[in-house]
Symmetry: C2
Subunit: 236 residues, 2 copies
């Protein structure tokens, strides 16, 4: 029997964002498969319901790919795929494998010759880049910057230099409860004419995306505490 297909299924970024997040194909896919590899079983089940799942939840096979489970290895996640079942991969929010766990599962699928199909859905990085007005011809995502203050300001300066040298948009994130100190550090460190885009609460009712120079941001500092945000720097 041929192997099943691994579908990569994006999950909404915010509450009550279904209509902004799901394509009809995603809902059809979710209703055609019964086995999932997920970052967190509880949120995965809630998401499947929201996406229009008609299959009774008790019929689903869910492999929890949370941190505490990884020690066992992931070989058993692939038994269904090897036996011909289609399987869905989901993270807790956004696209699996993009600034989120899941890439190791996809990597392993490729090594085993399993077909991989990515579905369209929300990615905070992509939405932020599109809405920043910065170069989308060349950009780099760096994940989290160092936590230590001196290292972090050094890294911010490095990213500014990279942006100028390569005409490249620099994208990074922070744990939401550290967003305010991060913004403070950026405003202290970057050149007044460097432009900073902040994309906050994407796809939620309180969403905003704003691009200003560092000098302009300094005049009016937004409250980002515990709000998911993406930072983008561009200097030329």
């Amino acid at each position: 029997m041929p192997f099943g297909t691994l579908y990569l299924i994006p999950v909404p970024l915010a509450e009550e964002a279904s209509a902004k997040s799901f394509t009809p194909f995603l809902t059809d896919t979710v209703n055609s498969i019964k086995e999932y590899i997920v970052e967190n079983e509880k949120t995965a089940r809630r998401f499947l319901k929201e996406a229009g799942l008609k299959t009774p939840q008790s019929e689903l096979i869910i492999h929890d790919y949370g941190k505490h489970n990884r020690a066992d290895g992931t070989a058993h996640f692939f038994k269904g795929l090897q036996a011909g079942s289609d399987v869905g991969l989901m993270s807790e929010a956004g696209c699996p494998g993009v600034a989120d766990p899941g890439a190791e599962i996809v990597e392993k699928a490729h090594r085993m010759g399993i077909k991989v199909v990515p579905l369209v859905g929300p990615s905070s990085i992509l939405l932020a880049l599109m809405a920043s007005g910065f170069s989308g011809q060349s950009f780099a995502f760096h994940g989290y910057l160092p936590i230590e203050k001196a290292d972090r300001s050094k890294r911010i300066r490095e990213l500014e230099n990279l942006s100028e040298r390569n005409d490249q948009t620099q994208i990074f994130i922070e744990t939401p409860f550290r967003n305010n100190p991060m913004l403070e550090e950026i405003l202290k460190t970057a050149h007044p004419k460097t432009r900073l885009c902040i994309a906050c609460d994407l796809t939620s009712a309180t969403e905003f995306v704003q691009t200003k120079t560092i000098a302009e941001w300094q005049k009016r500092i937004p409250e980002l505490h515990k709000r998911p945000a993406i930072f983008l720097l561009y200097h030329r």
Copy 2:
């Protein structure tokens, strides 16, 4: 009167990919606005129909942002927004401003204090990255590589080095009719153990995404002529 909102509206990457591309919010948005700034009027009108537009096309105001129009400047594109009308921005395929024109319009909107709202939709770069199995914690998109052979192979080696040094996925594209020579160059230049992902015809019926080592690809070279493709390199 407050300004209107600039909605950034992604467009399908392939024929007959509506169900894979459109969210209900996109269709609602398209039906709530009557003015568009677009890369190509003809394809924009076809797309709007496909997205479920109910407004008669004759009632739409469409500003064509094609290359031949840019000489006039873009100030007149913003009159509707300044008068309070919502306006949609679209490129020919994928997300406006991401490896596509449109960023200058978004930049100008930010400078004018116009609210910018990005919609969820297909991006070939994001889909390819998600499906590659490579690092999504750190990645860079470089657009097109140099055309000249010696420059191109030098650039491929640079990207390999960048990937190894920064543990960063390197993403680039080529004009579809040059895909075969590009692939040949990559296979000749990169280290046999470097991994290459090719994502081809995304969201279409002939889609494939495969990750293999350079040595493995050399044994069986896919036909990419005139097929839209994304190349991703990862070396560690």
